[in-house]
């Protein structure tokens, strides 16, 4: 077994593009596959980040409604992915589907994204303050 001990990997043809050999003849692009921003935060009292990357602040907008402000802007608005979910300590609402996503595309800016923590059950839907909230973004940075 060999161990690679280096500080930087740089593309030879394009510095910011590294291809990783995938299954069969597939190639996976390293940079395109990285989360560029992520956060784990509480949802009770005043929501606070537990841990994060590339976040400058979190704005509590209302019940189950948060705005994530980035340190390094994304390159284009509405062009990066948003995905997330939430849990309760004790998981009282375990039978619901739970997602954290932007409600309006106009809320997906290069500097921030506003999201809602939405639960969906067989007969109900709504936003809620969950104990633990998780969100990440993939896309190109400015």
């Amino acid at each position: 077994m060999s161990t690679l001990v280096i500080d930087t990997i740089q593309g030879k043809t394009t510095a910011g593009s590294i291809n990783v050999r995938g299954e069969g003849s597939n190639n996976t692009n390293l940079q395109q596959g990285l989360a560029k921003a992520w956060i784990s935060h509480s949802g009770y009292n005043t929501p606070t980040a537990e841990d994060s990357f590339n976040h400058a602040s979190l704005t509590d907008v209302g019940t189950g409604n948060y705005k994530y402000n980035f340190t390094n802007n994304f390159r284009a608005a509405k062009s990066y992915t948003n995905s997330g979910g939430m849990t309760h300590d004790g998981d009282q609402l375990g039978t619901y589907a739970k997602v954290i996503n932007p409600i309006n595309t106009a809320d997906i800016l290069t500097s921030s994204v506003e999201v809602s923590a939405t639960y969906v059950g067989s007969s109900s839907v709504g936003v809620y303050d969950y104990d633990n909230n998780y969100h990440s973004c993939l896309g190109d940075l400015a």
Binding site: N45, T46, S52, G62, T71
Partner: protein, 156 residues
């Protein structure tokens, strides 16, 4: 132990954040910024909380770009024909700001992450629309969260 920040001017901001994440301890602030948008009078008060990793960068110094870089990008994005940023170098190539106190970092954050029409001349308006407080000054629950407003009597 003092950690010295490398010379980061010209280094992509995202790479600087990697360095900071590796080297700096996150700092949880007790400060909260409570604000109301006068353009959305029916909306509840919003509360902005600094990110602990970001605050560590701000108080370390030499990592974050000047707040004016964000203003310029915001102007670009406000253009009707905006497609994507072409001046990202404003984040990466401008001289990073020196270390800030926690209070200075909060002021920087207000000017970065809260709309200008909220914080500009906020202390001259009849109705207080922005307050910096400690977390213990806020309700310790979420009851009627969508009805929260700044208590004008307390901040007067």
């Amino acid at each position: 132990m003092t950690i010295e920040t490398p010379e980061f001017q010209g280094t992509h901001l995202w790479e600087r954040l990697h360095w900071a994440k590796e080297k700096l301890e996150p700092i949880q602030s007790d400060y909260r910024v409570v604000w109301e948008d006068p353009n959305e009078p029916d909306e509840p008060a919003k509360i902005t909380v600094p990110d602990p990793n970001w605050l560590a960068c701000a108080m370390q110094g030499g990592i974050l770009p000047p707040v004016q870089s964000y203003w310029e990008l915001k102007k670009d994005e406000a253009q009707p024909d905006f497609k994507k940023h072409t001046r990202g170098y404003l984040l990466h190539n401008t001289q990073p700001v020196d270390k800030m106190t926690e209070e200075e970092a909060i002021e920087y954050l207000i000017m970065k992450d809260i709309p200008e029409h909220v914080w500009k001349d906020y202390d001259k308006s009849n109705r207080k629309r922005l307050v910096i407080c400690k977390k213990q000054n806020l309700p310790g629950h979420r009851t009627w969260r969508n009805s929260w407003k700044i208590n004008q009597e307390l901040v007067a």
